[in-house]
């Protein structure tokens, strides 16, 4: 090996490192800034920020059980983050993750408690896929409305959220209600429960698998190419012969499939039944995660782990440091702000913009 070649290869290594730094610097620094402002808010409200963050860290990673809790909390977040990120790629903003998750959750619960006599190997996947498909159908409504009427998905998915809350509330109070006074479904049968291995919930592995699958779908298939082309320029996609209307419906459906699977995994693996009011706010977290991951499905995993760790450590923080865990919601919102306002972060870091697929959503209400 000549010296020239050597310096060339080390130069390339530096280049790769630089590229990694460029793409990671903004998200990492955004999280740092959000934590900093969160600390100031904590300090102003009379708490000790360092103590609070230390307790948070302990609660999230301090023991094997804590790590298990973090993974458990991160699992539905991976799904809701994937759902938003996937729709973003087609230029669609799915704020309806919450509703799709609820619908997925309650259908999975129904399939889990109502069907008897199936072995685990069939029953669990059946309930999981049934819930996911229900989420897909729920989201496809918004996709179809956009394709056929031009109604913007930002409003329709939010409205579908409220409708889903009412619908699931009705089901858990009425036809699918457990015996007793509490409004919830019966417990799912053992054959439908998603197990844990030690402190690692199997649901988390399913989530990782879905992230890889989503990545593959987006970047290695023609369907993914059609989706990304539509997202970059719907007009051009139309001229290139892509059936944009169909892409919109299918993208929303798959996005809802992911969110619905999140609800199903949570129902079958963590709660064991459906009860109203579960996981409020997951849909919004999905937006933060998707943007933190720069809409890359694989990036969703670490982003969801971060937010999951914050959720998992929240109660310990409240217990040890006397800080209300809702501060986490504020920090999450700040993360979203800094990640999206990357101009600020870049200015502070003096970093250049990376040429990447930028999300454009504000195209007006005309569809």
């Amino acid at each position: 090996m000549t010296t020239e070649e050597k310096s060339d290869s080390s130069g390339r290594a530096i280049q790769i490192l630089q590229r990694i730094w460029r793409s990671l610097s903004v998200p990492l620094f955004s999280v740092f800034l959000a934590a900093l402002i969160g600390a100031i808010i904590l300090w102003l409200s009379g708490a000790n920020p360092l103590g609070a963050y230390w307790a948070l860290l302990q609660g999230a990673l301090g023991s094997p059980e804590a790590v298990g809790r973090t993974l458990e909390k991160a699992t539905p977040l991976v799904f809701s983050g994937l759902a938003v990120a996937f729709a973003f790629k087609a230029g669609l903003f799915n704020i309806g993750g919450q509703g799709q998750l609820l619908i997925g959750g309650i259908v999975a619960a129904y399939l889990g408690f109502a069907i008897d006599g199936l072995p685990f190997i069939i029953h669990m996947p059946l309930a999981l896929l049934g819930g996911s498909l229900a989420g897909a159908l729920w989201a496809a409504i918004a996709g179809a409305l956009k394709t056929y009427t031009g109604a913007h998905e930002v409003i329709t998915t939010i409205m579908l959220n409220y409708i889903a809350i009412n619908l699931t509330d009705f089901l858990a109070n009425g036809p699918w209600k457990d015996t007793g006074i509490i409004a919830r479904t019966p417990k799912v049968l053992d054959t439908a429960v998603i197990p844990s291995w030690g402190f690692i919930p199997l649901g988390f592995l399913i989530a990782v698998l879905m992230a890889v699958l989503t990545y593959y779908l987006l970047f290695k298939t023609t369907w993914g190419y059609a989706i990304r082309t539509t997202g970059l320029n719907a007009e051009a996609a139309k001229y290139a012969g892509i059936k944009v209307g169909r892409v919109i419906i299918l993208t929303m459906a798959f996005s809802g499939f992911l969110a619905g699977m999140g609800g199903s995994v949570e129902t079958l693996g963590v709660i064991g039944r459906y009860q109203p009011g579960f996981n409020v706010g997951l849909g919004f977290d999905g937006i933060t995660i998707a943007l933190l991951a720069k809409t890359n499905p694989l990036g969703v995993i670490p982003a969801a782990l971060l937010l999951g760790a914050m959720d998992a450590g929240g109660s310990q923080m409240q217990f040890d440091a006397g800080v209300r865990f809702q501060i986490i919601d504020v920090i999450k919102a700040l993360i979203l702000f800094f990640v999206s306002a990357d101009v600020i972060v870049r200015k502070i870091l003096g970093a250049r913009a990376v040429d990447e697929e930028k999300v454009t959503l504000s195209t007006g209400w005309g569809g």
Binding site: I41, F93, I95, L145, Y148, T149, G150, A151, H152, V154, I155, T156, I158, M159, L160, N161, Y162, I163, N166, L167, D169, F170, N173, G174, G281, F284, I287, T288, L291, R324, Q326, I327, D329, V330, I331, K332, A333, L334, L336, F337, S340, A341, V343, I344, V359, T360, L361, S362, T363, G364, W365, G366, G367
Partner: protein, 341 residues
């Protein structure tokens, strides 16, 4: 119809031409039905209509906020968050000072600041406007739930002021002339902005900026200054809607108490074709849907589960949006960053 049509295409055209007529006929039918209801059940009908007006107040304020922004080119999906934080700050100021006027002003100011924040994100930081609005929504949700202390109630509520003899007119009196100040103010604001937007220099400039910013720039309108101003001004209205909720309607604060009204307001804005009067009409429709909801429970019509009645305004929003979005044209330059070279 005078022109009998033979082919499908012309039939379609005929339908389109008569959309205005259909609308007028629909309004007349609704008015007849409303009067009939009043003659059969005077007290109940009056209660429903009065409630309709009150329910529509925050929605039409939100819609005004949305349309002023969009007419100038800024899409605001953060109305929900502006309302929520406005409601919360108004509530807290009232709890700590006991003053209702100060509290309402604080709510308005909160809305304005969030409007300014949206303008900064959209114009200076060139963020995607829909994401900017989402930041506001999530931030408002987080801040209000962090600082919220359960169990507080406002010191007093904004009370209705009957407008003398006007309040004694049958049907119209109890509905229009026996309200609390923010409700009156809202009706005035609807007409004020209808006038301002279409009959004043400010309105002309605002619309120019929203339709064709570079042309507006050429004739000396400072596009981004206008956008900053209008988005902040519009924020006042969402903040007022929030203050209405805590100070005039409920008398306390609950988490997420806006319940999607900010998003319904956007649908109302589209339904009302980006005009204040049109939005008011649409908002009244939604107010009516919500007012009926409580009336349903009141009447003991429990063969329909209350959850389905509760869905009604949201289903209506989707139906309205699906039916009207293609037919009304949004301002041409909305959502786009304007970069003066």
């Amino acid at each position: 119809m005078a022109t009998t049509t033979t082919t499908g295409a012309t039939a379609k055209q005929g339908l389109k031409l008569d959309a205005g007529l259909v609308g007028r006929v629909a309004i007349i039918l609704v008015a007849i039905a409303a009067l009939a209801y009043y003659f059969i059940q005077p007290q109940q009908a009056t209660a429903v209509y009065a409630s309709t007006l009150r329910q529509s107040t925050p929605i039409v304020l939100g819609a005004l906020c949305g349309l002023i922004g969009e007419r100038t080119g800024i899409i605001n999906i953060g109305i929900e968050g502006q309302m929520l934080l406005g409601a919360f700050i108004a509530f807290m100021v009232n709890v700590y000072t006991g003053n209702l006027i100060l509290a309402a002003l604080a709510g308005v100011l909160t809305g304005a600041l969030l409007g300014l924040f949206l303008a900064w994100m959209s114009i200076t930081l060139k963020m995607d406007q829909i994401i900017g609005g989402t930041v506001i929504n999530i931030l408002a949700l987080g801040l209000t739930s962090f600082f919220y202390v359960a169990g507080l109630t406002t010191k007093g509520k904004i009370q209705p002021i009957p407008l003398g003899p006007l309040a004694d007119i049958p049907l119209l009196g109890p509905i229009f002339f026996n309200n609390a100040p923010i409700t009156y103010l809202t009706i005035i604001l609807v007409f004020f902005f209808q006038f301002a937007l279409f009959r004043t220099v400010w309105g002309l400039r605002s619309r120019a900026v929203g339709e064709h910013p570079s042309a507006a720039d050429t004739v000396g309108i400072r596009v981004n200054v206008m956008r900053y101003m209008n988005t902040t001004l519009a924020g006042c209205l969402s903040g007022l809607a929030g203050a209405y909720l805590t100070l005039e309607a409920v008398g306390s604060f609950e988490r997420g108490m806006t319940n999607g009204r900010g998003f319904v307001a956007l649908a109302v804005m589209i339904f009302g074709k980006w005009t204040p009067l049109g939005s008011w009409g649409a908002a009244l429709l939604f107010g009516f849907a919500t007012a009926l909801q409580t009336q349903f429970q009141f009447l003991g019509l429990d063969f329909i589960p209350h959850q389905f009645v509760g869905m009604f305004p949201y289903v209506l929003t989707i139906v309205v949006l699906a039916g009207f979005v293609g037919r009304s044209r949004p301002p041409a330059a909305e959502g786009k960053v304007y970069d003066p070279e």
